[in-house]
Symmetry: C2
Subunit: 672 residues, 2 copies
């Protein structure tokens, strides 16, 4: 076995992505009204991307120069291509998603099966682009630079940087639009959701694509690439004489790509009344294929089943964390019901109850992650061979992420179905169409919650694996909490996620306020708008979200990149290790807390809308709407931003490790 | 210099406490109505204490047995007395506070100066009891057990256990009563605050004493004792041949006690229009006395000014953290104004904005703590002598806490003034009286916010110092984040504060719901209540708060004590070190976040009530009330509970260190 396998698998994934894409394009895009609406959304999404790229060019050049000065030109090249590959995945995925949405709506006129197939194919394009470009890019640069994994970490940094823009910027975009559309449209003007008279409605639909398709894709692209890089780095010193073992993480990922393709094909073909079942079947078959292959490979390549054990622990824990998320955020379980009940005594109790559920929900996922870390370390014999144990942790991360293609496909399907519903509404299609898209959408909401749990879990494990790689690269045998530098690093690191959450929440607030002003202005100043005689200025709202999203993410972005470097230089490599440890631990917790509080509030509101506790319009419902509004930036902006923060900080430390190892600790040296 | 000094200072503090107490008792308690109301509050407070003691006896016996089995009987004896001394301080402080409140109201009839003097004397009794009993108890057992500091750690555990009951139970008590009184009384029935027709009004006033006097006192008693124990432990190996250096932490604390007494006497005598200035003058003079004495002692005892530097850093940082708290929580600064402005767009934006401010406010205090840790470590020569550096950190903690007597006095003054206002209202005293108590109360609110910041900062530094003591006692030279056990410990530890916050918030919710039901029932079932013809059943409401507070703190209490022992046994001493590191870092952050979000919401509401953004009754005000209600358990229950959690977990680990060092790591040993 050699490096042809990952290259072939990567290309295969892209071929399937293209095939699905052209299949979608061939479908009918519906009547003129539908095409018009879809055109607005497509143009809005593309406008965001184009504007984002302008910022990105400056950013990429600046960081590349920094890398050239501090490290070398090869790493800078890898960085640039890591960024470009992530951009391509996002561009392609979003372009197809904004075509699939209207075609899903059109297909829903004839029935659910076809609508599901188109929506899911759209999601699959994103999923397969992520893994195809991820594994292809990594392998190419691994080969080009003569298996020098240190250089290839630059690719991971490139991926992380784009994830920052896509996930954090996208998160701000989508929530500014959402809050603006809801507060003025639904609450003040009293028009329904997705009403074409609402000036922010297009921005809202664009936001679903920008945040939930491109943002989620870039997030998992980063985890995917990061986990493989970490495993390759840690394997580098262990297996320098055994090429097959050396490239095992790439082989494992290749298997995962094939399994994902098969899973996607199965999920796409499923028919029947229950779309959830179709998605589940595909996911389980994909997972099972990875497990069986790994079982065989573990014995063939390593001569034992230890590797299999480590990988399996990652896969199982990834799935379990997703499932547990459902318990805390679905109205089928007691937690959401409790929040709904608390809404009867007003919005304050809704908020307290939702915060408590989110905080409580951190316990089980953290215990699962802890078990995966311990199990994958010790099963690999870490008790006597620490390096091998740490390699086991990185394999757990690669294992968890091996079916990323499938996960992203299932995940990106949701916003496409959501968009389809919006288009159906705005184009005044028959209510039967909306019923189908609503059903697809509600499945999408569940998969989104699970996907969010998975994204957090994988980010945590990836960050921990990269953390081990960082220690190895800086020649640290110990990151000792009893040294004051590490302790201070830990405290400062634990603080950063709070700061990041605060900044991103504020950003949503600011952007939403601008949006609210604009929507109010249009309602007031455009005559005939409320009567439906005049089209609102959608583009203006799209512009506001775009500009705000990009402007607001500059400061947190700089923070995430510069703080590790500054702390490393001032307090040294070990203190930087403490910083990462602190940031990862508190970042994961805040991510889970915010995602689940937000998800629980959202579903508590929907639960009340089914008629319980007074139903829509009751006081309980009003309180629940407050919870949902607070939850919006929680679950779609600040929470997911944590994933990026912890991975980005870790990979920045990894890339700049040589500089920090050489020059770090300037401040502490003064005392010596 | 020898151990007579701390004993004399401890006794002196208690003599002053008694003198102030009998001075207060001699003052007039006003007319019959005032005596009746004050009697209800006093009886309610005592009822809470008595019920608490019943639980405490079971708890103390159980833990003492555990200590006898696991460690030895001497430590168990110290534990029991640590608990008893803390109980005595709380009992005495609260008894006097519930006498001072009505006398403050009566004195306010004649003028502000006398009212301030009585209220502040009441607070001083609590403050001097805390430091007097703290230093006396520690020194006595230090002498009795032949300078065996390991045994004396039991005293710290006793203090911590009582703090758990007093602070967490008290926090639940006070907020259940507050929310119940506000939601039904103010919002539903439309009667003013502190109206005697409200059945929960007495419980609310009792809550101020239980939570803010006894709870805060026990919290700082724990920090005070813990920091001294930590410094004595770390100094034990450093200065085994030099008794003066060995007992230096006790000498430093003695000086602090004297300085506190002088500061209190000055603050008490101040006259004039600005009560804030009087309190400040006393505080600054007390601090200055400690600084000057330490400057001399450092050179005399240690032959250099390094020790002075370490202590000074603690004192300065403690003061700065308090001051910074004001910036984020006072309406004089931009943050609270922003929350008030955001209230115009509804309660969701109020909540988001307040959460963002709280999270943002973690940055500066953490940086200050980081600076104090680094400075006190390196100034002591930690770069070449780690043990000496760690001793420096513990001295910073002792320094910060040296003027605890003064801090608690200033802090406990607030709820007494608040209570006085309530009594004035309920007794229908002239509005001029209420004006004076309101003024004293508003000063109390500022000092409370500063006191909260100080409590958090001192808890953090104390926990870090105890953490170093723990490592020394388990013979750990390294708590290495690169071992999976430590990493898992870190993750689990960081999760515990989230869990603790969730549980305590839920507890307040549950207890408040019971209170709401009861108040509604009384309004409905007692004829003539609303007309003021009939007295409500205050006692029932007091009972509900009492029962709920004590019941709801059992689970979190068990958690805080058992988790460190279980993790230590399963994963070993190093992993337990990781657990403490994680818990302290995330606990401090959540403490700051919750305290400041809560304080900021509170003052945003009050700011709107001054007439801005539409003033009282406007939509902005309604939104701000939601923020304030969410903030109540934040700032008065869950936030302060973090202080206890991190100290208690650390001291449990310290006391059980021998067992964990001997038998720990059962689970990991399976893999070996």
């Amino acid at each position: 076995m050699n490096l042809y396998l990952p290259i072939i698998c990567g290309i295969l994934a892209l071929i399937f992505a293209f095939a699905f894409s052209s299949g979608i394009t061939k479908e009918s895009a519906g009547n003129d009204r539908m095409k018009e609406i879809a055109g607005y959304i497509h143009d809005g999404a593309m406008a965001f991307l184009m504007r984002e790229y302008k910022y990105l060019i400056i950013f990429i050049v600046a960081v590349a120069v920094l890398i050239i000065i501090a490290i070398d030109i090869k790493t800078a090249i890898c960085f640039i291509f890591g960024a470009i590959f992530s951009i391509c995945a996002g561009y392609f995925g979003m372009k197809v998603a904004t075509k699939a949405n209207v075609r899903t709506a059109e297909a829903a006129r004839t029935g659910q099966d076809k609508a599901l197939k188109i929506a899911f194919s759209g999601g699959a394009v994103m999923g397969l682009s992520v893994v195809g470009l991820g594994i292809l890019g990594l392998t190419i640069f691994y080969v080009v630079f003569g298996n020098d994994i240190n250089v290839v970490t630059g690719f991971g940094l490139g991926a992380s940087s784009i994830a920052l823009f896509a996930r954090v910027g996208g998160g701000i975009y989508t929530k500014a639009a959402d809050v603006g559309a809801d507060l003025v449209g639904k609450v003040e003007a009293g028009i329904p959701e997705d009403d074409p008279r609402n000036p922010a409605v297009i921005a809202d639909n664009v936001g679903d694509n920008v945040g939930d398709v491109a943002g989620m894709g870039a997030d998992l692209f980063e985890s995917y690439v990061g986990s493989i890089i970490s495993a390759l780095t840690l394997g580098y010193t262990l297996f320098s004489n055994d090429k097959t073992k050396l490239i095992f993480p790439l082989i494992l990922s290749s298997i995962g790509v094939l399994a994902s393709i098969i899973g996607i094909l199965i999920a796409r073909r499923s028919k029947g009344d229950n779309p959830q079942k179709a998605l589940n079947t595909g996911t389980y078959i994909g997972g099972a294929l990875v497990i069986i292959s790994t079982f065989i490979l573990s014995s063939n390549i390593f001569g034992n089943y230890r590797v299999f054990g480590a990988i399996l622990s990652g896969l199982i824990v990834g799935t379990l964390i997703g499932k547990v998320t459902e318990i805390y955020t679905s109205a089928d379980y007691k937690y959401v019901k409790k929040i709904a009940r608390q809404s009867e005594t007003g919005s304050a109790t809704t908020i307290i109850s939702g915060l408590a559920v989110g905080m409580y929900s951190t316990m089980i996922p953290i215990i699962f992650i802890a078990i995966a870390v311990l199990f994958s370390f010790y099963i690999m014999g870490g008790a006597s061979d620490v390096a091998m144990g740490l390699y086991g942790i990185s394999l757990a991360a690669v294992g968890m992420l091996s079916t990323t293609g499938l996960t992203v496909a299932v995940d990106a399907y949701g916003p496409i179905a959501d968009n389809a519903g919006g288009i159906a509404e705005m184009s005044e299609l028959p209510s039967s169409v909306r019923e189908i898209t609503d059903k697809l959408d509600s499945v999408g909401n569940t998969t989104a919650a699970i996907g969010k749990g998975f994204a957090i879990g994988s980010a945590a494990l990836t960050a921990l694996a990269l953390f081990a790689s960082y220690a190895q690269k800086t020649n640290l045998n110990s990151i000792n909490l009893l040294t004051p530098g590490t302790l201070v690093g830990l405290l400062l690191g634990a603080m950063l996620p709070f700061l990041f959450a605060s900044m991103t929440m504020e950003s949503v607030g600011k952007a939403a306020n601008e949006m609210i002003e604009e929507v109010r202005r249009q309602f007031k100043e455009i005559p005939g708008l409320m009567e439906g005689k005049e089209t609102p200025d959608y583009k203006k709202c799209v512009d506001i979200s775009t500009a705000a999203a990009l402007k607001e993410m500059i400061l947190p972005g700089i923070l995430a990149i510069l703080v590790p470097i500054i702390i490393g230089i001032l307090l040294g490599a070990e203190a930087l290790g403490g910083l990462i440890g602190g940031a990862v631990s508190s970042g994961v917790l805040i991510a889970i807390f915010m995602a689940n509080s937000g998800g629980a509030w959202d579903n508590a509101k929907k639960y009340i809308e089914t008629g319980v506790h007074g139903g829509k319009g009751s006081n309980a419902h009003k309180a629940a709407v407050v919870g949902d509004t607070v939850g919006d930036p929680f679950k779609d902006t600040s929470g997911p931003a944590m994933n990026i923060l912890i991975k980005l900080m870790t990979i920045v430390s990894l890339v700049f490790a040589p500089v920090i190892a050489a020059y770090g600790g300037v401040l502490l040296n003064l005392f010596k």
